[in-house]
């Protein structure tokens, strides 16, 4: 294909815009990383942009020495692993039978699940349910209410349905049971979409803090995001308000806040590139067929 002069300008323009957009996505993270690695003096005199000034790892050392921060981190890692495992098992258990068109009661179950995507009891009835089940201040308050995401369930069901039926039929001829087919044939063929959904469940749990805010009052069971909220946002807010003449609490150094935020972000930044190709293919499946 021949490219005209106008085309070249258009190409340049597109590259420029995409580059700018990418930078906009990176700059806040880079700035935060730089702040976390700079000295407080440099931060206060506004010298830090996207490169650390007067390199200092003091903030990280302080954060790493904080036992509560570590407890929170380990609790959250355990929570995410448990949550993702249970979510995936439950979602698979629901998705597979629902692909069987001949299954009696299938349409009813599907309808029941789809309805929950459009209507829900709302915050307060859910809150009262968790309370009356005596789940508050237990890890289960953060696991059980969100065990199955109806949308992910539909994505998985769609994927299962797209697998060739002949494979399952031949296995059935050989006397394989439903569960045998699921475990030995269907699941191994679904690894990309399973990886994608696991990632979504895991990231959702890692990032979520609303339910913890509602159900967890025991400081030892604060997931990392709630801990951060307490440490950074409430504090930032009082800082921001202090300038408007409202009261401020004891300020935490900026570099400490930044280091704490980075502390909770780094795990995501570490796993993200490795899982990227899975979630793109997984999303495509959901997008094109869903």
């Amino acid at each position: 294909m021949k490219t005209s002069a106008v085309d070249k300008w258009i190409d340049m323009f597109i590259l420029a815009v995409v580059t700018a957009a990418s930078f906009l996505c990176l700059v806040p993270i880079l700035h935060l990383a730089s702040v976390s690695l700079s000295s407080n003096d440099a931060i206060l005199s506004n010298k830090v942009t996207v490169v650390p000034v007067e390199w200092s790892t003091l903030a990280y050392e302080t954060v790493l020495k904080d036992v509560k921060m570590f407890n929170s981190l380990f609790f959250t890692i355990g929570l995410v692993l448990l949550f993702t495992l249970i979510c995936m098992v439950m979602t698979i258990c629901a998705a597979y039978p629902l692909t069987k068109k001949k299954l009696k009661g299938r349409d009813f179950c599907l309808l029941m699940i789809l309805f929950t995507m459009f209507f829900s009891g709302g915050l307060i009835p859910e809150y009262l349910l968790v309370k009356s089940l005596k789940l508050t201040n237990t890890i289960w308050a953060l696991v059980l209410p969100g065990m199955i995401n109806a949308f992910y369930l539909i994505i998985l069901k769609t994927f299962f349905s797209s697998l060739p039926e002949e494979l399952e039929e031949s296995a059935r001829m050989d006397g394989c049971s439903h569960i045998g087919i699921l475990v030995r044939i269907v699941l191994p063929l679904s690894l990309p979409v399973l990886a994608t959904l696991s990632l979504f469940y895991a990231v959702g749990r890692w990032n979520g803090f609303m339910d913890a805010l509602f159900y967890i009052t025991d400081q030892n069971m604060y997931p990392i995001q709630l801990k951060l909220y307490q440490l950074v946002i409430s504090n930032q807010m009082s800082d921001a308000l202090a300038t408007e003449g409202m009261s401020a609490t004891v300020p935490i150094p900026e570099s400490m806040k930044a280091a704490s935020i980075m502390f909770a972000t780094i795990p995501i930044l570490l796993v993200y590139p490795w899982l990227q190709r899975y979630f793109i293919s997984g999303m495509m499946i959901g997008a094109v067929k869903g």
Binding site: L32, I148, N207, T243, E254, A287
Partner: protein, 324 residues
Amino acid sequence: MHGERPAVPETALSAESIAPVSVSKRRRPAWVQDWQLYALLALPMLYFLVFKYIPMYGVTIAFKEFNIFEGIWSSPWAGLDAFREIFAMQDFYKVLRNTFLLNLLDLAVSFPAPILLALLLNEVRIPWFKKGAQTVLYLPHFISWVIIGGMVYQLLSTNTGLVNHLLKVSGIGAIPFLTEPSYWIMTYVGTGVWQNAGWGTIIYLAALTGINKELYEAADVDGAGRLRKIWSITLPSIKPTIMILLIINIGHMASIGFERPFVLSNPLVTDVSDVISTFVYKVGVQSARFSIATAIGLFQAVVGLIFLLASNYISKKVTDQGIW
């Protein structure tokens, strides 16, 4: 079938050949044969019953004088008292207005952003650059609102924020992004674009890969330029995807996430930052006025359902696209 063997009496046939077969060879009932499937489905359905349908029953406390010690079942009915009370609340109209205002602005700005970005990415002809840009653009979606909140304060606060420092140095002067209501709305909408514009492109890029390449070749022969091809081929091809996402978005007009307004808000901007979800939290969880908070939640759910049904209906009439 019976007609083929008229010599044998009806009764003899049914007694001798059918009855024994029904015991040994007839297929077992479906639910016995598929018991494993039902066993797999049992726990998930129990989950939906307990954690989705019991709360739906729980909305009855909007019509009761709820007493936490008596429970939902035995609390006395109160009719529409809770609804009368919320419709008399000034704050209720405020949070209703804010919810619609923020959602509407979000729709106006955050909805077109991924479409534009996807069209641009689609025109990038250097594969490694496209991949790299996508990696970076998807990243914000994986960052929590707490962390985004932290970044926003780091970057935008009036005194210590980097952006305001640069604005001051360049002579424009500081802008109260977080403490002045009109600017706060901009910040709110902006963070939404930041988190989701890149991620939103995935679905459009998927739709774009499905376009028949021959259409472009035909357009080349006809001498169409790039913009012409985008306008006449690319956009019409992803129109169904755009429409479906638009319906879903309009359908969610009455509902709003909790974490984003909660994290970004502060006492100086509550006039615009208090929305239904944060209001329900304040009234219900913090003040323990359960019936009132449930009534607000129910109002929101019903209005949301009406929006969803209406937008789907209109879209089906106008464009033949619908989510069901």
